[in-house]
Amino acid sequence: MSIEDKVIDRSADLSQPLENLGPDETLKAHSDYLRGTIARALVDPITGSVPFEDNKLMKFHGIYQQDDRDIRDERRRQKLEPDYRFMIRVRLPGGVCTTEQWLKIDSLAQQHGNNTVRLTTRQTFQFHWVVKEDVRPTIQGLHDVLLDTIAACGDDSRGVMCTADPRDSEVHAELARLSKQVSDHVIPKTRAYHEIWYGAERIATSEPEEPFYGPTYLPRKFKIGFVLPPSNDIDVYTQDLGFIAIAGPDGVEGFNVAIGGGMGRTDNEPNTYPRLASVVGFIPKDVLVACTDAVMAVQRDYGNRKERARARFKYTIDDKGLDWITQEIERRMGRAFEPARPFTFTSNGDQYGWHEKSNGRFNYTLYIQNGRVSNFPGRAIMDGLRAIAQVHKGHFRLTPNQNLIIADVAAEDRPAIDALLAEHGLSESNVGSALRLNSIACVALPTCALAMAEAERYLPDLVSKIEKLLEANGLLDEPITIRMSGCPNGCSRPYVAEIALTGRAPGKYNLYVGGGFHGERLNRMIGENIGEEKILEILGDLLGRFARERQPGEHFGDFLHRSEAIEAAQRLGPHE
């Protein structure tokens, strides 16, 4: 049977009536294009929260309702509702940000965000701790500097990523522009956002409000990223749709297209799993938007809307078959993929410190632990970056590893930047074990509702303990990626790391090892639901073997993959 004749199961997709699909589909369809009762809920004075349905809809506006879980129980006894707060995620395509925008973000964080802001693994800003009545002023403040939060969360195309390499060139700049162009193209078109947050009048129109998405949007979130080899900093294999730029002497020629990556899994649900994206072929640059539309439309029309845990594009591909999906994309794109062009990745980490660009100007990458911009004793990151933004003539780039590039600095301006870094205790930020400089943790407790264990507040301590093991084995300068998530959903992209921990319960994690150093291979679980002592025992053993038995230049993950060390560790038994 040829692929054309293949019978495709349509029992769980958009072709079905709403009552046959999951409850979120009805909610979206009845939301009046993401309006719901959000505007009314914002002014309900009896609660600091919004109703269940509006909370779901607000995600499409880039806002999550959370609460301070550290004091949830205490407040329950005080007969008070949880301390509800809102997380607001900015849409910042490619992580590019002007100094003016930085200063605005900084002042909004001081006014409404508990004096802190977070740089995320998808290259954007997140405010936490915003109370309900401050959500609107925060979004209006962002609007002042031409930023918005549209589709930063929700069942839609999320923020578009783009390689942020300090050794950058004109090609990087072109890629950043393309990521912005695609992001502007794929976001929802409903006027709900302008009405609710900016107070715009509702305009009567006979035009469809969402010509592409329709009233039920996508089955689930959809992530797009651009990458420029040899850096794989955006972890292109974890994107639903990845564009691997192929550059020639005249700039970007086109892209290898990778589809169906995704990190999320659910414990004890074997039909959920992380998947690496598949490279399906090459497209010339001018087909970029048509290709994006085609891929998203296939997911829109065929994605599983019955079972949310199976709604990501990766499952659509595995359920329908990669060949069939590829052909369907080609049909909608109106052309076939060309054969993929060769490329090589070397790392998914960041390059720290000063780097000279091809045009003779300079970029500086500053390591920011867990992306947390705040003032710490002796390290005034927030004050320091504000001071730099006030004098910096270039711009900023947020990296996919939650770090910051002070971009486009003239040679004569370098001393001023260095002086400000020193003045705020940030000169030594980039000095640390190679493990620490390659670490990522998600936010987790106390604000994330999904977290089952600590991540951001715990990983730095755990890394200090692993550093002792590295030191004992002479591995302090060996770059090893380590990533921690408070739950199995994988915001820190754990399943491609060489060492990964995902939270199961307070103090308990699943331990994974053996991912590829540049994000090309998934890792494997070798410890389930274990505590710190056991984690250190297993890692101590594996790092010891690595130091003794590795081949020259071999990465930790590659060694484990080659050497059966994983199997040996698994035989020890994953349980405590």
């Binding site: 004075p45 009896i46 600091g48 205490e74 005080q78 007969k79 008070l80 301390d83 004890n268 639901n529």
Partner: protein
């Protein structure tokens, strides 16, 4: 089965039994239920006719045919809800009439009346219950849990065996119900993540037994009597002179972190006291002075704590008397007069002049007994002379924050200890601080009920408008509890004011539930310190003037509780303004309107 299998030896003669069997066999199930009710009613009548002295016919179980069945679930992800709903559907198929509740919204006072209870609950974290069920667990596992001798139960526990505390939440309830005297119908079944099959087996087995029992007993067994426990007669009446030593059940803060208040919620056990109260009443608390305040006064006066003293013929010591019988914090005009004479101070004497009332008030506001004694020392005092100027210590009254219909033999208070600094020393209100600081759960305090017939819910379903700031919200909690239990249909509207939304929204989650359930129709709040401009309850009333006036015109009763100095006059003024504005009346006419409300008992105040 033979008829003899259920022959109740000793309860009936064989002949009676056979008659009954004959009748039973001719009945449809509906008729059988009717007859069962008939005998139950007849039996109760016989008991009453015999002055309650007749012994129950047999020490048998209560009529099994009328045993109620409740299914209670605790869930975070919905698995247990689904199981519970399936279980209920299966039970209905078998002719049973189950009620299904989420532990999150289950009325805890129902528990003592449950008869057959099936529990489906999952476990999280370190053996914890599902988050929405935490309150229920705290209640069941806490000291306020009722005895459950009437109850039969069975537990289906869900869990994940990769965790250390596998199915622990289910195990906890299973253990606890046994401790409370309930009878376990079936051994608990623990289910791992693939729970479908064991859960289904459990359901089949449990329902088969319950259905068989109900079917059998509905036709085969006469209803036995349950002796009704009459209220104990001749219990000593407790009043102000003879307060009841009541045990503190709970004493918890009801303000959150960073609050500028220390407001506490106190629950007190009245069991065995015979005390009854109505919503709107106050609780009198017989209080005592802080030992350090007594010591400071004694030192200032140069008197010994052991100095003998006769009080109304009873011998005591000065220290005892100052602690228990006299007000020794705020000074009264009488004390001023007394001390002016003793000290011979011309300053004090001058303050007594008739035309110096406002200076006198200011002086007394700024000077406690101890301050006056220090400032105007008197040498060679004796105990009798000293106490002659003091006012007897009065019990403190607190508006009750609960309804007996809802909380049974308990009484709840909401209080905010009065603390301030005077002359460089921390000072506090006598009883509020005493209660807040010293009323540990398990300790006792002397209490009585102070009836307040001028603060009563209207009969029937008239709308009510409740206005309260701070702890003034207390009686409205009792109103809502009462109306909820009564199933009252009347509309209600609460205006509540405090300082900060996040920390000071007293009983926030309870109001939210009352709003959701429609017990409370609407609510407006005013938090004075959240924003630059201070907003108080009267401002919210004025913003809602049109609706508020409409409610008045529709017969609403208005209540005001809380601060007498600022809030009550401001609210009164706001009411007059609203009536004038919305009713198109001149000021005098509006005042008349409000006076008429008062005269008709539709405008009642409890201010202090």
């Amino acid at each position: 089965m033979t008829a003899h299998e259920f022959f109740p030896e000793g309860a009936l003669t064989l002949e009676q039994w056979q008659h009954l069997q004959q009748l039973s066999n001719s009945l449809t199930p509906e008729q059988a239920r009717w007859v069962s009710g008939y005998f139950a009613g007849l039996d109760a009548g016989l008991l009453r006719a015999a002055g309650g002295a007749a012994a129950p016919v047999a020490a048998a179980e209560p009529a099994p045919a009328s045993r109620t069945l409740t299914i209670l679930y605790g869930t975070e992800t919905g698995n247990c809800r689904e199981l519970a709903n399936n279980l209920a559907a299966a039970a209905r198929d078998q002719g049973l009439a189950p009620e299904v509740f989420d532990m999150a919204s289950y009325k805890q006072r129902r528990l003592k009346d449950e008869q057959d209870l099936l529990i489906v609950v999952s476990t999280y974290g370190e053996g914890d219950p599902p988050q929405p069920a935490v309150d229920f667990f705290e209640f069941v596992e806490g000291r306020k849990a009722p005895r459950l001798e009437q109850l039969r139960y069975a537990v289906l526990a869900l869990g994940d065996s990769t965790y250390e505390f596998y199915c622990e939440a289910g195990k906890r309830l299973d253990r606890r119900f046994e401790e409370l005297g309930a009878a376990r119908m079936f051994d608990r079944v623990d289910c791992d993540i693939d729970y479908d099959e064991p859960a289904a087996n459990w359901a089949t087995e449990v329902l088969a037994k319950l259905a068989a029992e109900a079917a059998e007993k509905a036709v085969a067994r006469p209803a036995a009597a349950v002796a009704s426990a009459a209220a104990p007669q001749g219990a000593p009446a407790h009043d102000k002179r003879n307060p009841f030593q009541a045990q503190i059940i709970d004493n918890i803060p009801v303000v959150g972190r960073h609050s500028t208040k220390e407001t506490r919620h106190i629950e007190i056990d009245l069991a065995g006291s015979g005390l009854r109260y109505e919503p709107g009443d106050a609780l009198g608390v017989v209080t005592a002075n802080e030992p350090q305040v007594v010591a400071a006064v004694l030192e200032a006066a140069g008197l010994s704590t052991d100095a003998p003293l006769s009080l109304k013929g009873d011998a005591t010591t000065l220290g005892q008397a100052l602690e228990r019988h006299f007000e020794i914090t705020a000074a009264t005009p009488r004390f001023l007069e007394h001390w002016a004479k003793l000290s011979g101070s011309s300053d004090l004497e001058a303050l007594r002049a008739e035309d110096r009332a406002s200076e006198r008030t200011a002086f007394l506001y700024g000077h406690h007994v101890v301050d006056i004694v220090r400032k105007f020392p008197v040498g060679g005092l004796d105990a009798e002379t000293f106490v002659a100027g003091l006012r007897p210590l009065q019990p403190r009254l607190y508006s009750i924050a609960s309804s007996m219909a809802s909380v049974g033999d308990e009484v709840h208070l909401t209080l905010s200890p009065v603390r301030y600094s005077l002359h460089g020393e921390p000072r506090s209100g006598v009883a509020s601080a005493h209660l807040a600081d010293r009323a540990e759960p398990g300790s006792t305090i002397p209490v009585y009920v102070q009836s307040n017939p001028h603060f009563r819910l209207p009969a029937g379903d008239a709308p009510i408008i409740m206005i309260g700031a701070g702890t003034g919200v207390a009686p409205y909690r009792s109103f809502m509890q009462e109306r909820e239990v009564q199933g009252a249909q009347g509309r209600s509207w609460l205006f509540f004011g405090e300082r900060n939304f996040r920390s000071d929204f007293l009983y926030q989650t309870e109001w939210q539930t009352y709003l959701k359930d429609g017990v409370l129709t609407r609510m407006d709040v005013a938090f004075s310190r959240d924003k630059a401009g201070k907003v108080y309850v009267q401002h919210r009333m004025l913003e809602r003037a049109a609706d508020l006036f409409a409610w008045l015109e529709e017969g609403a009763h208005v209540y005001v509780c809380g601060d007498a100095n600022a809030m009550a006059p401001d609210v009164h003024e706001a009411l007059i303004t609203i009536v004038a504005q919305q009713g198109g009346l001149q000021r005098e006419a509006a005042e008349d309107y409000v006076r008429t409300l008062q005269r008709d008992h539709r405008y009642q105040r409890d201010v202090y």
